[in-house]
Each structure stands twice: as C-alpha cells, then as structure tokens.
C-alpha cells in the first residue's frame, strides 16, 4: 500500500466552499482502479489547512491511473482553485505500524 500525503492550504475564508466541493469530489476518486481509501483531515492549529491521505495499491495507480483519467479533470476543476500555495504531493511506503495494545 502506497500512501499519498498532501498538506492542503485553502485560501482564507474559502474553507466552507472547499469542504462542500470535496464532499462532491470524493465520489470521483473512489471509482479509480487501485484506490483503497481516503481521509481528509482538518488541522487544529492552522485555519484553512487540511491533510489529504489516500491509500493506493501501487504508486502508478495514482500517478498514471488517476492523473491520466477523465475523472482527474473533474477533480482538478472542483478542487485545485482553492489551494494557495499549490500543494506538493508526496508518496510514502509503510515502515513500522503499531496498534493499541490489546
């Protein structure tokens, strides 16, 4: 499982509109082959900041499959205009996982 991790900074005051747009956009990405799961989380310390975490079966499912799809054009049109600055996307692979002791 590859983790796509992106810190999103939304233009000041546009967070309610961004959240509404994301609510619509999330159905787009879930239909892509190799998509596993997504979380959008809101930052407690910094207003208008979010963390987007997406699990993909492979790196290419994101970088080639999703980004090369017609669905990505819809995703971009819905969401990309909210970001300032435009975010850097990174990918991570699991190294250690620890669960709550039973």
């Amino acid at each position: 499982m590859i983790l796509e991790l992106v810190i999103l900074n939304v233009r000041a005051g546009e967070s309610p509109a961004f959240e509404a747009a994301f609510d619509e956009a999330r159905a787009i990405i879930s239909s892509i082959p190799g998509f596993d799961h997504l979380e959008l989380q809101r930052c407690l310390e910094t207003p208008d900041r979010y963390a987007l975490l997406v699990g993909w079966d492979t790196l290419e499912a994101h970088t080639e499959g999703f980004r090369g799809s017609p669905e990505f054009e819809q995703w971009k049109a819905l969401l990309h205009h909210f970001y300032e600055p435009f975010p850097t996307v990174e990918h991570y692979e699991p190294l250690f996982q620890v669960a709550r002791p039973a």
Copy 2:
C-alpha cells in the same frame, strides 16, 4: 480520534540508524494512555524523509499525557538528535473518510 502528523527529515546518511532507533522507540509510545496507533512511513521522492502518523484518543493524550511523561524523555533521547531541521508537529481531526467500494 486525533491524528498527530509530523514530517521528519533525518540527517543525510543517518536513516539506517534512525530506523533502528525507531524500532526501539515504538514500544515506548504504545504504553501511553490514549495512544491508539502509529505508522512510520518512508518517503518515495525524498531520501531521509519520513511521515509519522499517530492516532490519539484526545489531543491532550499527546500534548499533556505523552509529552509530560518520563517515557517522552526516553523517546526524545532516542530520536530527536536525528532531525534536521527540527520538525513541526500538527494535529488533525477527521472530516471525510472514503473506503474502497465493496
């Protein structure tokens, strides 16, 4: 559930030693009340970069419970000398979650 999210940049060449130290340190944090889970992930694009994701029952379980504990002193001694620059810790709360379609 509160997500602690930290991007860790390790001094060049020290990643093997960092990973060995983290393997030791992970037992320390899992004993803290309010700890739920932890993931350490390795960045595919940038050498010596990691993402630390920790789930806590509450913000205070991390900021007061863990940081005020004797275990945190051990954690710091094992890990903090690897980081350059010293990382910024942020906390996030869930907004949207999407699972793979059944």
